[in-house]
């Protein structure tokens, strides 16, 4: 850019004011000027040439006139000389033959004198001509007198005076003709020289004019075109930079069209910059607001949870003590209300986290049927209290979706409790699940409540929009549905509602299907477990460590283990705690969850195997993930068995039996050992 700018300075070199003046001319004026300069040069040269030619013609004409006078005067003189010579011969011989020139002159004299007169008039010297003519007339009359004397036969001596007189007249005529001819001859000679000079001047001028005109024209056009094209190129480059948001290259100010273009580009840039600055400001404002909101949420969450801790904690303490029946009931009610409040706080915080993007999910393949069953179990007391029958889909549906198991259950529980709370007494709630074709899975919850008008169907997904339920006895937080929808969307699904007023409402959760749920190949199946023989004591004093963060899963295992008194179960909720416990307790078996906060199952397994103190402890992986690749990887890392969730308790039992009996696992796979 730098060099091109320098080039422009050179193009527009000259005094500052000239450059300024040139830049400010409109482009069409510039074009006219560029065309006018060579044209003017050509016109000037042509005019000079024409003027020279005109002069040359004048000089030529003057010279011709002079020549004509000269010629005609010489002719007159020659006539006179011829006549006089002839007459002398006649005088000497008397032979009339010598009279021939005289007669010829006599015949021609009128013409010769007329020609001389005309030339003299053209030359403007008629006085000298008149003198010559008079002398000529006198000569002729003298010759005529001589002829008469000769014819009369006069003596030679009588003729001598006449002859001498004629000779004197002849000499006078010669002198007069020479005088007449002298001026024009000089003029003619000078004119000739002039004409030659002018002709070469005209040649030089024509060639030089043509060259100057062509050169000036070409230079002008080149300068004009390159100047304009340079500025247009620069304007285009600036327009381009404008589009890319880069700073513009400075352009010399000018008032012509291109200058206006450059100025409007600069204005546009300023406008864009100020808009951009406004946008940046608005964005910063929004980011600050969002940060403020997150900080507010975080501190509110803490501030709300701190007193809740005391309320729920002390209430639980009270519940543990021996209170009278009514007091115990009061404490239970305080606890229930406190937990409801906590639920409200948690839902509010969840919604706010989803909105501010600070929400994390653990999405994995989840079998839908067991989640529906769990959710129905959770709301069973509520349904029973209102005599509402809840129907579930047939257990054979092996539908698996990609979701966060806990959040999916949260959505289902929310929809189910709504379906019960907003139902008629003795109504029904139906849960169905299906996956049409290869499309997403749909889980629907249908109630037999009063239904929702079509225009209100979207409003129910707005926070605290309870459609007049505030006037009823139905309790609710007012954010359950918005949260359920936000959760479904966070898991790349949807939540929609459809209703026939008077008949009921259907809420449908749509979730992507998990595609990687396939049966593991036979050689990847987990280590088979010998079925416990009926009545056989299931091992003695087996110490099992469960590493699992999900309380429901801990509960399932611990309930099962209670049925087998010989097993002592210890649970920790994080991988780190698990590693410590394993090293400290050296248990006989470790049940390891795959997905935990902090340290994932893979890492826990590799650390257990990497520590000599724990490397020998058999590890069974419990996971909702049934992808063959994962199973294979965990087995390769040293897992003894891989059980998929939801846990099949008989499988767990066989695993415990095998470990308790100290058997080495047989080689052939146990059928169904990793079936969900």
């Amino acid at each position: 850019m730098r060099t091109r700018e320098t080039g422009s300075q050179q193009q527009l070199a000259g005094p500052g004011w000239l450059r300024r003046w040139w830049l400010d001319r409109p482009v069409r004026v510039k074009g006219m000027i560029v065309v006018a300069i060579p044209l003017t040069a050509l016109v000037a040269v042509t005019s000079a040439s024409l003027a020279l030619q005109h002069n040359e013609r004048l000089v030529r004409r003057t010279a011709l006139t002079a020549l004509a006078l000269n010629t005609s005067a010489q002719l007159v003189l020659a006539d006179a000389v011829n006549a006089e010579s002839g007459m002398r011969g006649y005088a000497a011989t008397g032979d009339p033959l010598f009279l021939q020139p005289y007669n010829l002159t006599l015949a021609n004299i009128a013409d010769s004198r007329a020609a001389l007169r005309a030339a003299a008039i053209a030359e403007g010297d008629s006085r000298a001509e008149r003198t010559v003519a008079a002398t000529m007339t006198r000569e002729m009359s003298e010759l005529a007198a001589l002829k008469s004397a000769i014819s009369a036969g006069g003596s030679v001596s009588s003729l001598v005076p006449l002859l001498e007189e004629g000779k004197a007249t002849m000499d006078r005529l010669r002198g007069q003709v020479a005088g007449l001819v002298q001026g024009p001859a000089a003029v003619s000679a000078a004119g000739h020289v002039n004409i030659t000079r002018m002709e070469s001047a005209i040649d030089v001028l024509s060639i030089a004019g043509l060259a100057v005109g062509l050169l000036a024209g070409m230079t002008g056009v080149v300068l004009f075109a390159s100047g304009i094209s340079y500025r247009v190129t620069r304007a285009a480059a600036n327009a381009n930079r404008l589009g890319q948001g880069q700073p513009l290259v400075p352009v010399p100010a000018a008032r012509d069209e291109l200058g206006q273009l450059a100025r409007s580009l600069v204005h546009t840039k300023q406008l864009l910059d100020s808009r951009a600055a406004e946008l940046v400001g608005a964005r910063d404002e929004a980011v600050r607001a969002s940060q403020a909101k997150n900080t507010f949420l975080s501190s509110t969450s803490h501030e709300l949870r701190t007193p809740m801790n005391a309320i729920l904690g002390f209430t639980q303490l009270l519940q543990m003590s021996n209170l009278s029946g009514e007091d115990q009931d009061s404490v239970t009610r305080i606890l229930a209300a406190g937990r409801h409040l906590l639920e409200l706080i948690n839902e509010l915080i969840d919604i706010a986290r989803i909105e501010s993007g600070g929400f994390s999910l653990s999405v994995e393949p989840v079998a839908v049927q067991p989640v529906i069953e769990e959710s129905c179990q959770l709301i069973a007391p509520l349904a029973a209290g209102r005599s509402i029958a809840v129907s579930q889909p047939l257990p054979q549906s092996g539908l698996t979706v990609s979701a966060d198991r806990q959040r999916l259950r949260q959505i289902l529980v929310n929809l189910l409790s709504n379906a019960i709370k907003y139902n008629r007494l003795g109504g029904t709630v139906a849960v169905t699940c299906q996956a049409p074709g290869l499309g997403p899975a749909e889980v629907a919850v249908t109630d037999t409540g009063p239904g929702i008008a079509a225009e209100d169907l979207e409003r129910i997904f707005e926070p605290f929009e309870r459609l007049g339920a505030d006037q009823t006895a139905v309790e609710g937080t007012g954010i359950g549905l918005p949260l359920a929808r936000a959760l479904a969307e966070a898991m790349h699904g949807h939540l929609t509602a459809a209703s026939v007023p008077g008949e009921g409402t259907t809420f449908t959760i749509t979730l992507p299907r998990a595609q990687d749920i396939v049966q593991a190949p036979a050689d990847d199946k987990l280590v088979p477990l010998r079925p416990a023989a009926p009545g056989e004591p299931a091992g003695t004093s087996l110490r099992v460590l469960q590493i699992e963060d999900n309380p429901a899963n801990i509960e399932v295992v611990s309930r099962y283990v209670k049925t087998r008194p010989s097993i002592r179960l210890q649970s920790v909720t994080s991988g780190m705690a698990g590693l410590e416990a394993a090293a400290r307790e050296a248990p006989d078996l470790i049940l390891l969850d795959m997905h935990m906060p902090g340290m994932q199952g893979d890492e826990v397994l590799s650390r257990l195997k990497g520590n000599p103190a724990t490397a020998g402890i058999p590890v069974a992986v419990l996971s909702a993930e049934a992808a063959p690749a994962v199973i294979h990887r965990m087995r390769a890392s040293g897992a003894l068995a891989y059980l998929t969730k939801p846990l099949e308790l008989t499988e767990l039992g066989r695993l415990l039996d095998t470990v308790a009996a100290g058997h080495d696992p047989p080689a052939e796979p146990a059928p169904g050992a990793e079936q969900p």
């Binding site: 803490h302 949870r305 701190t306 543990m320 649970s571 991988g575 416990a581 340290m599």
Partner: protein
């Protein structure tokens, strides 16, 4: 006495709650309390408790900072620390577990769950 537990929390209600809970359910455990991170680190080095319960938000400091200070001192590095946090977000839990906490309970905690966690380290 089976052992000692140090509870670092600036909210007196919480300390009182855990104190009464332990008196009732685990009379064999002696509870020490500290209301600031600095006091907590000092008390931990002085009494060498079997377990530390640590509030995630303390005046002027954070649970993670206290965790680092405890881990930096040979006298306290081996003591297991359980976080009791008012902030239940998974990111917070992951961060603290990665920083060396052995367990993480969100407030309000279930007292039975807390007893279970304590029982794991002080059977």
């Amino acid at each position: 006495m089976t052992g000692t537990v140090l509870y670092i929390d600036d909210v007196q209600d919480n300390v009182l709650l855990v104190q009464r809970l332990l008196r009732q359910a685990r009379p064999d455990i002696e509870l020490h309390a500290a209301s600031t991170g600095a006091d907590g680190v000092t008390a931990a080095a002085g009494t060498r408790p079997d377990l530390i319960l640590l509030d995630n938000r303390l005046p002027g400091t954070s649970g993670a900072q206290v965790l680092r200070q405890l881990a930096a001192s040979p006298a306290t590095a081996a003591i297991p620390v359980v976080i009791l946090s008012g902030d239940s977000s998974p990111a917070t839990a992951r961060g603290l577990l990665a920083a060396g906490a052995v367990d993480f309970l969100a407030k309000p905690f279930d007292i039975h769950q807390l007893l279970a966690v304590i029982g794991r380290y002080l059977p």
